[in-house]
């Protein structure tokens, strides 16, 4: 039994930390990645293609490899669509069985030449648009919510409902009937845009319901990994300050009130880390269910929420300034939490996933006969 990263994952983590650490920042716009830097990372590091199978031109890594990378993009508040395109959109694409997905889109996402984004619903399911079938696919009218990195994307994926069935649709932001508008966001390290579709023609991709649900769960897991990385950076920041700052003749971290707050922050991250790793490994092994993924998501969301507030408190007045990076992480916490849905809705969704409406008692924390979330969604081996 082994609960740790592989040597390769550790090397990936360290390399990614070094690469993203060399970027300027994080500043007001996070750690910005210029177009040439994005291309260089794709070419030299292959980060964009980690989660994409080799047969589609990617690096062939698994869930845990992607998680290792995303913890580092989160740590540095990297302003680039690693999460949005290479993890989230890629997960949805991997649930599909279309030649254009396999032969064009996945390879292009993997080499960084295409940025795909997914207008995903929140935990309660709001954000699914209605569509009607047409000869070439479907027609959609409606607005997406704010989509991270939507403004620089070349492919928009969205969930639509056709005759009660959930479908994954695709269009290009430049398509007729599709209007993209950047929105002002609380978190400038993850710029957002809304898409308004007016009778827009979209392609319906081939994916069954359960694969879509599984892929959706995985997108949340990946977003949680980025939250966890940010939370770890925040704890490091708070502890570093508590060790350095002196008042009343000693380091403020020697006072129990400050020490205990830092300890609680560390515990929150430990809980999130353990839950995320177990859930991610369960997804990789095909033993995790949607409830387990949601629990890991809840733990990471709660951890980032808690530590970003506590971090400001530990820093005192300096943590309250624009210049200090503390608020950048707070903004990341706010924006990511907003995308998930209220904490209450997440908690209710977990209860429903585990206990549902079935009155029989089950073991809430062990894999059961409930729906599995597997990394093989849509691919052979299901």
């Amino acid at each position: 039994m082994k609960f740790s990263l592989t040597e390769e994952q550790i090397a990936l983590r360290d390399t990614a930390r070094a690469v993203f650490g060399r970027l300027e920042g994080p500043g007001e716009n996070g750690s910005e990645v210029a177009a040439d830097q994005w291309a260089q990372i794709a070419h030299e590091m292959g980060f964009q293609g980690i989660g994409i199978p080799e047969e589609h031109g990617g690096g062939g890594g698994d869930v845990l490899d992607l998680v290792a990378l995303l913890r580092e993009t989160g740590r540095a508040l990297v302003n680039a669509p690693f999460l949005a395109s290479s993890a989230i959109a890629a997960s949805m694409l991997l649930a599909c069985d279309d030649p254009i997905v396999r032969e064009q889109w996945l390879p292009a996402v993997g080499d960084g030449s295409l940025v795909a984004v997914f207008a995903g619903p929140d935990v309660e399911g709001s954000g699914v648009l209605d569509a009607t079938t047409t000869a070439g696919g479907a027609r959609v009218s409606g607005s997406t919510g704010p989509v991270v990195h939507g403004a620089t994307s070349g492919l928009l994926l969205l969930l639509v409902q056709i005759d009660g069935a959930l479908k994954l649709a695709a269009c290009a932001p430049a398509d007729p009937g599709v209007d993209m508008k950047s929105t002002r966001t609380v978190d400038n390290s993850a710029p957002t845009a809304v898409f308004e579709l007016r009778d827009a023609q979209v392609t319906i991709l081939q994916a069954n319901q359960s694969d879509l649900h599984r892929a959706l769960a995985m997108t949340r897991l990946f977003a949680a990994a980025e939250q966890l990385g940010a939370a770890e950076a925040v704890v490091d920041m708070a502890v570093g300050y508590a060790n350095d700052r002196e008042q009343f003749g000693r380091q403020i971290g020697s006072f129990q009130a400050v020490k205990h707050r830092c300890a609680d922050m560390r515990v929150a991250v430990e809980r999130a880390d353990a839950a995320l790793m177990v859930a991610a490994d369960g997804v990789r092994a095909g033993t995790a269910d949607t409830g387990a993924v949601l629990m890991a998501v809840a733990a990471c969301n709660a951890a980032l929420r808690q530590v970003t507030r506590d971090n400001i408190q530990v820093h005192g007045a300096i943590g309250f300034t624009w210049e200090h990076t503390a608020h950048l992480y707070l903004r990341r916490a706010l924006a990511t939490a907003a995308r998930l849905g209220s904490p209450e809705s997440i908690d209710r969704a977990i209860t429903e996933a585990v206990f549902g409406t079935d009155s029989s008692a089950i073991d809430p924390v062990e894999p059961s006969k409930r729906e599995r979330v597997s990394a093989d969604s849509g691919e052979a081996g299901r």
């Binding site: 080799e54 890594g61 490899d65």
Partner: protein, 426 residues
């Protein structure tokens, strides 16, 4: 440079070393099957957990069950076979305790068992003389010797090394004077392992010894203390010229601090999975309670149950991490502080939820007496037993206090994990 294609998980790729793997080794899974078979054959058909047994039948079942466990070497399974154990590995211990919890049977039926099997026994195995092992281990397994721990004193709680119970040399050994307090299961103990000051010239952690003290003598008086739930579950003990034989010092004179600290280390690596399973069973009982009271569909209940589910999931995830590290022989360091903090926070969270669901039922109490006081009730317990929920809630308040208070645990996490400076002391 990060070569592309390095992550391939196809069969003909570079073999990936040390892959994260949360499955148990084959032989441990075989052991799990063995334990499940043992449970199946030992328990009556239709067994629904100790909690489902009628209160009048509990004592008889537990006595018989304990005999069965002793016979099969399962009461102290981590001990070497020659002393009545099975020499189980950490993973096997973890699986054993977990399966027992899931079947709703205790692995250590008597309140004193844990102190003998998990604390005193391993201490003797590590530090004890052959004579001490000979004298104490087998009777402990049999249950003829029942241990309680004499550490805390009225003036020495969190600050253990402020203890002042002292011993002076006599011809046969030592004469002990002082007082210990808060011994769990003290009233059913017939022996104590106690930290006593043996060198008056030294202070704090220096000059103390671990002594084995028989209760059945004039100089030892145990008095039960009623806890706030109304149960006499712990005790205080007065030593007024109690005799300790010179062969009953463990680990050497004035070496008590070191012995005690290693003793504290012989713990929870293997118990986390079982603890998560207990909480899982209890959470099911909370949900059953809320359904029976027609409250499960309330959004607030759904939300709080959801938070408990996440908490138990994370507790189990941490347990997996800890047991994997323990199995690999890695030091757990301050992780045990995180484990205890998370566990105590959760017990209070869960029992608060149960109390809130009960609402006015708290003013219309009924039901059975609890089986467990320091742990959740075992499988099968009636969810409508309000007396028991009240006891669970009350007893949960102690978990953040004993075994190192939550404040002490946070100090440990802050100092040992985060490297924050210690507080200056007088």
């Amino acid at each position: 440079m990060w070569p592309k294609g390095k992550f391939s998980n196809s069969c003909d790729s570079i073999e990936r070393t040390g892959l994260m793997d949360l499955t148990y080794p084959h032989e441990v899974e075989s052991f799990r099957d063995e334990i499940c078979a043992f449970l199946q054959s030992s328990l009556p058909s239709g067994w629904a957990g100790l909690g489902a047994l009628a209160e009048v039948d509990r004592e008889q079942f537990l006595n018989q069950w304990r005999k069965n466990l002793v016979e099969h070497g399962l009461i102290a399974p981590h001990w070497p076979q020659q002393y009545g154990g099975r020499g189980l590995s950490v993973l096997e211990q973890s699986v054993l305790t977990e399966e027992f919890v899931k079947a709703g049977v205790p692995q250590q039926p008597h309140p004193n068992d844990g102190f003998g099997m998990n604390l005193l026994g391993p201490t003797l195995l590590h530090w004890g003389t052959d004579r001490q092992k000979e004298e104490f281990l087998a009777p402990t397994v049999r249950g003829d010797i029942r241990w309680a721990q004499g550490y805390s004193e009225p003036g020495a709680g969190s600050d253990l090394f402020a203890l002042s119970t002292k011993a002076v040399r006599t011809e046969q050994g030592w004469r002990v004077t002082g007082q210990k307090v808060w011994q769990t299961a003290g009233i059913t103990a017939n022996w104590l392992f106690a930290l006593v000051r043996t060198d008056p010239a030294q202070v704090r952690g220096k000059g103390i010894s671990l002594m084995l003290i028989p209760v059945d003598q004039p100089g030892v008086e145990i008095r039960g203390i009623r806890n706030m739930a109304g149960q006499v579950e712990f005790s205080e003990v007065f030593f007024d010229g109690a005799h300790v034989d010179h062969t009953h010092v463990v680990g050497g004179e004035n070496n008590g601090a070191k012995v005690a600290l290693t003793l504290l280390g012989f713990e929870r690596g293997a118990g986390g999975m079982a603890a998560a399973a207990r909480n899982s069973i209890e959470l099911n009982r909370i949900v059953e309670l809320s359904r029976k009271l027609g409250r499960f569909d309330e959004p607030a209940v759904q939300e709080r149950v959801g938070r408990c589910l996440t908490a138990v999931y994370t507790q189990r995830a941490i347990a997996l991490k800890v047991v994997a590290a323990a199995a690999a022989g890695e030091s757990l360091g301050a992780m045990s502080s995180i484990v205890k903090l998370v566990a105590s926070t959760y017990r209070q969270q869960a029992t608060e939820l149960a109390i809130d669901i009960l609402g006015q039922q708290l003013n219309d109490l009924g039901g059975d007496n609890p089986i467990e006081l320091l742990q959740p009730q075992p499988l099968g317990f009636d969810p409508l037993s309000t007396e028991t929920w009240l006891s669970d809630f009350m007893n949960a308040r102690a978990i953040s206090i004993y075994g190192g208070s939550s404040e002490v645990q946070r100090n440990t996490i802050g100092e040992q994990m985060l490297g924050l400076p210690r507080e200056p002391r007088r």
